[in-house]
């Protein structure tokens, strides 16, 4: 795919996947500002590396892989900052973003899961990717994906299990 084609391609990719990547990153990181930054960075990387995309997987899978890896980098970086803020009474924050969710919201339940369960649930049920693609994204075996899905479902509320 040549650079000359990427102008329309990036527009299309942003409009097709932008919202779902942003929402997935928000549920993964539990922080809107970080999610927005990661989503931005995801599409910049997609734009920069589109020439290297070798069609070994669907482009959606490729984008999700970039997004998940960036989320993990963010968690690693910001873990230490959050640790530093644990005992502090008030924090100055320039831009605040609070989603008001119903107490029974699925999003809330997903955010309660550990990261390794959160990511499989999001990729399987929200991004609707097959196990094989998830295995590629997370760089784990397909059996590991299935096992994490099973354990994640066990941890969710009974009412949600019916949906799943």
């Amino acid at each position: 795919m040549s650079k000359n084609l990427t102008e329309d391609t990036i527009n299309e990719l942003v409009s097709t996947y932008g919202n779902s990547v942003l929402r997935m990153c928000y549920l993964y990181l539990k922080d809107y500002q970080l999610a927005e930054d990661v989503t931005q960075e995801t599409f910049i990387k997609v734009y920069e590396k589109i020439d290297t995309f070798e069609n070994k997987s669907a482009i959606k899978t490729w984008i999700m892989r970039i997004a998940i890896n960036l989320c993990k980098n963010q968690m690693r970086t910001h873990w230490f900052k959050r640790k530093a803020m644990e005992h502090i009474p008030e924090i100055a924050s320039e831009d605040e973003f609070d989603i008001i969710l119903d107490k029974d919201a699925i999003s809330l339940e997903i955010m309660k899961l550990q990261p390794k369960y959160r990511e499989v649930i999001l990729l399987f049920y929200y991004q609707e990717l097959p196990v094989k693609e998830i295995s590629y994204i997370l760089n784990i075996k397909e059996t590991a994906v299935l096992q994490r899905l099973r354990r994640a479902r066990e941890q969710l509320k009974p009412s949600l299990k019916e949906i799943l």
Binding site: K3, G18, N19, A92
Partner: protein
């Protein structure tokens, strides 16, 4: 589930940051039609002027606010301080006047900020299309017990009677025709709502939006956004709206250079006094505090892999934090990891597993003491923080 999640998070919609679009365009040397501009023209079928106006619109939850004065192309002096990781130019300043002098342009200033040596000023730019200045704690008001968080442009504080928080300020400057064409929209999502459009005493048109208070004693968060001489200012803080208006009324342009030199001298004097005040009221200048780890002396420590894997499956590497900063990362490939601590300070030890999760492992760290070149273990050679 997908539909349910999309319904719950429907207010979240992604738009590429216009500044990033321009940077990408410059890198690839291609003409690039930004998504925002295309949508604007499609929806409104307007002339280029109206498209430009729309692209500098301020939005609250997808609703556009009344139009402000337009942003203009403003040329500022370049920065040399390049950040490789973030791929932009960034610099911090000790004073507002120093910032203005280096920018080479006049900026608005508030009388209420004079003498405030606590403000934290950061300037970021790509040296071509845009500049953003963030001033944390621009106006302190009557907040007290201010404490800076180490290595971050953030403070903690105690609420005053009038100010529940300091007032922060962001300044947005567009410096190229390209960026002007694309614009610089902002959309405040979440529990923000439009309050009113206010005209300050100096005639500046200001859009005021608010967000609800988090707790009973807090005042609501107000954001005041206005454009003067093509530069956009955003004030942010928890005060009553009447106080926010008073702050807006206090904005003016700094005096000329000869006069400002006198002001600088006065500012230095008041800075000194402010330093003294802070050192008696809080710990800002008294001692450093760190939040991660325990106090350790310089020397050698050992971490045994066996102790780690008993609790953490797939442990991959050891992460060492020194005085709240990342010191080093060491693969956990051998039976033990020996680490030399060059200096005394606050050390935190963590392990990262294959899934990227971080686990605290200070319990597994043993200090070595040497006696005539013989190393032996002393398990409790550290003082606890607090």
């Amino acid at each position: 589930m997908k539909e349910q999640i999309d319904y719950e998070l429907q207010c979240m919609e992604f738009k590429m940051n216009p500044a990033e679009l321009v940077s990408m365009k410059k890198k690839q040397r291609n003409r690039y039609k930004p998504l925002i501009l295309i949508i604007s023209i499609f929806l409104f079928g307007t002339t280029a002027y109206a498209g430009y106006t729309i692209c500098n619109t301020i939005w609250v939850n997808r609703e556009s606010l009344p139009e402000l004065d337009p942003m203009k192309k403003i040329i500022v002096n370049e920065l040399n301080d390049y950040d490789e990781e973030d791929m932009l130019y960034r610099k911090s300043y000790d004073s507002y006047s120093e910032l203005c002098k280096e920018l080479g342009i006049e900026l608005l200033s508030s009388e209420m900020a004079e003498g405030n040596s606590a403000m934290l000023i950061t300037r970021e730019t790509d040296n071509e299309h845009w500049t953003q200045i963030k001033v944390t704690a621009y106006i302190l008001g009557d907040v007290y017990n201010l404490k800076k968080i180490e290595n971050m442009q953030l403070y903690t504080w105690q609420e005053g009677e009038v100010f529940s928080s300091p007032i922060d300020m962001t300044i947005d400057i567009i410096s190229s025709d390209e960026q002007l064409e694309i614009g610089w929209e902002k959309d405040y999502l979440g529990p923000f709502e439009y309050v009113e459009t206010y005209q300050s005493e100096k005639g500046y048109k200001v859009n005021i939006i608010s967000s609800a208070a988090v707790k009973e004693t807090e005042k609501p968060m107000y954001k005041a956004i206005f454009v003067v001489d093509g530069i956009r200012y955003t004030l942010s803080g928890r005060v009553e709206i009447s106080k926010m208006k008073e702050i807006l009324d206090s904005f003016h342009f700094l005096e000329s250079e000869t006069v400002s030199e006198e002001n600088t001298e006065q500012e230095v004097v008041s800075n000194e006094n402010s330093h003294k005040e802070y050192s008696t009221l809080d710990l800002l200048y008294r001692k450093q505090e760190f939040n991660i780890g325990f106090m350790r002396s310089a020397g050698v420590v050992i971490i045994y892999k066996e102790l780690i894997v008993q609790n953490i499956a797939n442990a991959e590497k050891v992460i060492v934090i020194y005085n709240d900063e990342l010191l080093e990362e060491i693969p956990l490939s051998e039976d033990f990891v020996e680490i030399e601590l060059d200096k005394s300070g606050y050390y935190g030890f963590f392990v990262e597993d294959q899934q990227g999760e971080i686990h605290e492992v200070n319990y597994a760290v043993h200090t070595c003491m040497s006696s005539e070149n013989i190393l032996w273990l002393d398990e409790k050679n550290y003082e606890e923080n607090d």
